[in-house]
Symmetry: C2
Subunit: 178 residues, 2 copies
Amino acid sequence: MDTETLTAAIAAFVQKSLGRWRAQRSVHHLAFGHFEQVESELEIAPVAVDAPAVVTLCEAWGVTPEMAIAPFAMKWEGRSDWDGGQEVLAGECLLVPVPLQGKLLRDRGYAETVPAAGILWFGADGTFVLTTPYERAAAEERIWFVTDDVRYRVSSICTSSGKGVVTASFSTEIRRLD
Amino acid sequence: MDTETLTAAIAAFVQKSLGRWRAQRSVHHLAFGHFEQVESELEIAPVAVDAPAVVTLCEAWGVTPEMAIAPFAMKWEGRSDWDGGQEVLAGECLLVPVPLQGKLLRDRGYAETVPAAGILWFGADGTFVLTTPYERAAAEERIWFVTDDVRYRVSSICTSSGKGVVTASFSTEIRRLD
């Protein structure tokens, strides 16, 4: 996929993703066959390309802000049934796509809470695929729209060798229209 | 994808799928935000192209058995936490790929327990995609290997118009080596 096509695909994908979503997420901890259930609310909002946080993140990765397109912020708040309790999870992160490098920069990662840069691409059927190497793990996320208002997200956390899957999760996200 | 490429892709996919698998499956009932958990054992075994059951299934769909390749049988036995109980689920079905038509015939369906024929294809990244229209619903399954011994299966049951998702499920399947 050339840079122009990738730029258009990213812009369209981010545009479709904007809004508020109600998410149902199942996490499979494969080694011990455990199921975890998470219910959450997501909010995905556009961020200006010249916002200070975007400029800072680009500079941290040696990228000029002109190379970034369609930055967005993702906020989540949810509850997990992990450990029998009702753990409250909440967070926010900034995501900055850089099509020329095929990268997605984020100010905090998914597998580890440190800044991360993932490699992004789109499958022939429009599936968004993001792979992110971390120091002790590698994460892969696949996101696709089933309808305009329903999207699926499958995430894996693998050992850094890529040979074993530690955790797999599936999130069904329904657009909130209220 | 031409018939020859599809034939090779199907043969390779079935070959990789043979064996016994331990599956962890989460079902999301979207309308009412319910989570269902299923633990099961799967067994996928090859079936001879000239086996009587294969010939009968082909004939029922007006296909000559010579058009079939790599038929296989899938057996499952599992337990669901649905309704708080420990419902036991068990079943078996025969699946017959017909590359020339891009179809997968099965003697019992997933969304409805009647014979069904789905349209199958492979994504550029090797994901197996099967869509099956039923009388009152449509099902889509996507299966891909994360490693040789771990495969994911995402299934959706949609209203027949394709506009709404009723049920989404995610299964992580680990090869049993014992």
